[in-house]
Symmetry: C2
Subunit: 344 residues, 2 copies
Amino acid sequence: MHEPPVTARRVTIVDVARHAGVSTTAVSKVLRNAYGTSPQMRSRVSAAVDELGYRPSAAARALRGRTWTVGVMLPDVRNPFFADILDGVAEHLDDTEYQLFMTSGCDDVTNEARVTEAMIDRSMDGLVLIAPVSAKERLTEVARSVPTVVVGRHGSSPTYDSVTDDDITGAALVVDHLVSLGHRRIAHIEHHETDPVRLAEMPNAQRARGYRDAMIAHNLAGEIDIASTSYTQQGGYLGARQLLARRIRPTAIFAGADVVALGALEAIAEAGLTVPGDISLAGYDNSALAAFGPISLTSVDQDGRQMGANAARLLVERINQRDRRTAQVKLTPTLVVRRTTAAI
Amino acid sequence: MHEPPVTARRVTIVDVARHAGVSTTAVSKVLRNAYGTSPQMRSRVSAAVDELGYRPSAAARALRGRTWTVGVMLPDVRNPFFADILDGVAEHLDDTEYQLFMTSGCDDVTNEARVTEAMIDRSMDGLVLIAPVSAKERLTEVARSVPTVVVGRHGSSPTYDSVTDDDITGAALVVDHLVSLGHRRIAHIEHHETDPVRLAEMPNAQRARGYRDAMIAHNLAGEIDIASTSYTQQGGYLGARQLLARRIRPTAIFAGADVVALGALEAIAEAGLTVPGDISLAGYDNSALAAFGPISLTSVDQDGRQMGANAARLLVERINQRDRRTAQVKLTPTLVVRRTTAAI
DNA sequence: AAGGATGTGGGCAACGTTTTCCAAATGTTT
DNA sequence: AAACATTTGGAAAACGTTGCCCACATCCTT
């Protein structure tokens, strides 16, 4: 099928003004409900807007001030935890004029730079960066040119707000739970990290630290056993294989993320062992996967929705008041016990 | 004396022009490598651009021409199949100047309207609409004002291109497979649909039709049995319960989507039956869930990546040539046999 | 009744690009 | 050497908003 392009010219503020018999200034004022408009004019302009089906050009607005657009940088759409955060952001933003756009697949520093640049180029009013891996200076720089909230990365900055989960507490919850079930040989699969800043700021590093601290607190320093791979299903598989090959096998594994636990599940099944009969397993994130019946994974719940909502709130606040002090919101996780952990 | 402003002013094309000692026109030409620039000028301008770290304002560009932005409307980030499509789009677009932004959570007509409006307001150069539910007239209207590709919806339009999977063939693949295993009582769980246009265009309706046609082709018209619920886990659960309550139980269930199969799995387990011992089960989409070891679901693979890549290709083509005829790309699915289907 | 406050509406200059034009310089053909 | 074609670079007008002004009309004080 085919149809010649009908070049329907866009309805502009000028058309509305002419149609209502007022100036463009007047229309603009009504649209933004600015000071200096009589009820009579307001209704005339509104009528014209409706009749003509006028919509303001965000592009033109961008040149003057706001675009009513906020960008969310997502490392990976496939991670359901990020989807929770997104829900929270979206929910909060639904009550406002802002429209949310997101990007995905920013797994490295180069991509992150490209995406943040792209968002700044498009004059977005605010940015939410979820679990960014860029250098701190880079983030600080970005936040200097546009209001920014960083989610899921510890540490404070003079230019951006941040929202995190208390990963140290979360890890401790898991260890406490396993210890209370009688476990002592509790191993951990972590995401490998060497860079000092990232060791301090990335959630994975905090979880590993929380695990260590909690083990020590339970007088189990000697039982600390960490497989250092990555926060992927593959990483979980490999990590679990490492741990299962130990001379004395752990009786419980704390995987740093739910996807890691999934990979571990495969490795455990492959080794002919059962969960939680032979070995207990806990994850982190309480994603939909963890809740899924046949899997039913004990996991730490971060309430991503809440994190997202907080991020959106902070962002809107900062857009409206750029010079207010930065804030750090830290939420407390909870443990959701399911069927992959049991008494020894 | 006043202090200099804290926020560094943006570097504009004027700054570059001054720094290079040429006109803004010249800079613009070099940037877009337009006709009428000497090699000497090109190098001077490029040097100035680099030295000043200049980046063109997409906002300003939008007012004149392209924004180099394409928008992808995603119904739901949580559906991993959509993520595959997204990967395909992103992969293809990475080779171009275009930046991709997406929205999610457009589950109804109102939201879809809001999102498409928002994308048009922001002068995006092109739109990819994934499995939209809006009325066809609405989509046609949108496509009239901006190049648009619709993914996952059958039927052709004079204004937009479309990319689909051949759902009828896909459904037939499942039926053929089950018949070859000796099954005759093969039931189907569909997403309920009444609207005539949607009945013709939505993938779910096509799958139901493919199921019916294939059954008839195998002389099994009398065995056709459909539970009409929805493409959700809950829908799968309820649908399977309906089917299991039949006087003569089906020996195989073809679920219209992987999530539906998951729900069905729960219902089957609840009824004290095993898969594939008592009953065979197949899904559609070959999502990561289907591939996941413990589940290992037989499913139809749509190659979302390929669909996305095609969509991106068509979109860029149309952006560059708005009056070319619309095209419909239909891809052939394949069956991935796993452990939920077995001989009777 | 004069003066000042307040309310109401519009003119106009940005904002940062792109895109015609157009002029000058240079090259090529008679 | 004149006429014409091509190349090179710039001036200036959009594009659709917003926000700072200013002008005028009312209304309220003294």
